[in-house]
Amino acid sequence: MSDAERGAEIALRAVSKSFVTRSGEDVEALADITCTIRSSEFVCIVGASGCGKSTILRIIAGLVPPSAGQVTIGSAPVTGPRRDIGLVFQSPVLLPWRNVMRNVLMPAEVVGLPRAQAKERAEELLELVGLEQFANKLPAELSGGMRQRVAIARALMHDPATLLMDEPFGALDAMTRDAMNVELLRIWQRQRKTVALVTHAIEEAVFLADRILVISPRPGRLMDTVKVDLPRPRGARTRSEPAFVHQVAALRNRFEAMPMHQETVQ
């Protein structure tokens, strides 16, 4: 619990990952990634699709072991899945037979939180994501944005110190996505978790992040770390401020300068 008051620090040291494809080829997905995500920091990991950025999250979560290198969260090295992490995927991954409330309660059930306490927390979280009216609805009765908000509430249920989000708004339309970004910052302002969010949308990254990790295409290397100097709290207006527009343009230029087709050229 004390870790959750402030988020945990995440450190990656020389993390590499290679896969063996079906044809027996060795593919290097991530090469030598070293970085530190500070406690309660909001970091976005940006790169073209297929650059292995989702793999970084899975390695941090302990779902996939790195081929080389080490990840530590707080002071403990990651050796496997751990409960102080909340996961949000691109699709909401809700259980369609459970209503909103019971979906949010699911992690509490697994972790074994006392029922009354869990219920109270779930109600708080549903209020936080603005779905307290929808506790008894089934996921099928909700819109895409609402479902993803349920997924965020669920990820916060067992009060993890770290939130890992894998393109959480990638499947939403642009307008819902913008609204969800504002929403996520509001939630993060209230529950200061360490957040690592993977996205391929530059604007989204600039809007959300304290720092942006820029990953090159295969093999995924940490090309750059960009600090975002926009004041918080950020809101819908932030997007029209010159500083924001400037940051987005600068980052986009950096991407365009990057040899995207390195592999095919070689």
């Binding site: 899975r58 979560a61 302990g62 779902l63 899945p81 751990r82 409960r83 992490i85 996961l87 995927f89 699709s91 991954v93 259980l95 369609p96 037979w97 699911m106 992690p107 059930e109 697994v110 972790v111 089934l138 099928a140 067992h158």
Partner: protein, 268 residues
């Protein structure tokens, strides 16, 4: 708007009338054609004779007594067979050792026509209900096993990753994700099995039994009581239909989150 209202008004005309008319036409043809073409009433008895036989069977209690026995055999076999099918599917999909040890034999067993085992089972278990329960069970077992295996393996990988990230135990993962997730598929198997189980019980009774609808049917056959046989067929049809309706009802109640039509289309 106008069109919708017209549709509502015409539910009787569009939904109830066609099957009703077909039914009446069949009954009329059945009643009149044998007379028209001079087919013997002994071979195709008129509807009135069948209704009469049915009435007699019910009034004397012969049909009810036989129905209770066959229904008991079929349902017991169905529950045992499908229950065992679900359990074994869960075991096979959860444990690689179990899969390697069992699947080759299950596959080869599946290709044996199950009714061929009926004489053997009657020899082993006797003329009582147990041999019929066994046959109904075996015949119900396979469709449920196969569809449950599909159900337990057709699961979004992110759902399993989520459970893994929470360090859920195997039992928690099964209870919270895998089992409910498999239910729509399990029900496609149950839909098939509930029809098969009646066949199983009947075949068992044909091979050797002292009571039940199959026995009644064989006795009537021996006595050339064709209208009686028709009346038993009607009873069997009603029984099968009711069992199927029962499963569909449970399906809708338990798998409320998915539409049955979609699931049936989704499974091979």
């Amino acid at each position: 708007m106008k069109r919708r209202r017209r549709l509502q008004h015409s539910t009787f005309a569009s939904r109830i009338l066609p099957p009703l008319l077909t039914g009446i036409a069949i009954l009329l043809l059945w009643e009149s054609l044998p007379r028209l073409f001079g087919v013997s009433q002994l071979l195709i008895p008129a509807v009135s004779l069948v209704v009469h036989a049915l009435w007699n069977g019910i009034a004397s209690g012969v049909i009810q007594d036989a129905l209770v026995v066959t229904l008991f055999e079929a349902l017991s076999g169905f529950m045992l067979g499908s229950g065992f099918g679900i359990l074994l599917a869960a075991l096979i999909t959860r444990s690689e050792v179990a899969e390697r040890a069992l699947v080759p034999y299950l596959v080869s067993l599946q290709s044996v026509p199950k009714v061929a085992m009926a004489p053997l089972l009657v020899v082993w278990l006797g003329f009582g209900v147990s041999s019929k329960i066994a046959i109904a069970g075996i015949i119900s077992f396979f469709p449920v096993l196969i569809s449950s295996i599909i159900g337990f393996t057709t699961v979004e990988s992110e759902k399993l990753e989520l459970m893994r990230s929470l360090c859920a135990s195997r039992w928690q993962t099964f209870r919270i994700v895998l089992f409910p997730n498999a239910l729509p598929f399990v029900f496609t198997g149950l839909n098939v099995a509930v029809v098969f189980c009646v066949t199983g019980a009947l075949v068992g009774e044909f091979v050797g039994a002292t009571e039940g609808l199959g026995v009644l049917l064989m006795q009537m056959n021996f006595n050339m009581d064709i209208s009686g046989m028709f009346s038993v067929l009607i009873v069997l049809a009603c029984m099968g239909g009711s069992l199927h309706a029962l499963i569909r009802f449970l399906h809708r109640k338990l798998v409320f989150w998915a539409e049955p039509e979609k699931i049936e289309q989704g499974t091979p």
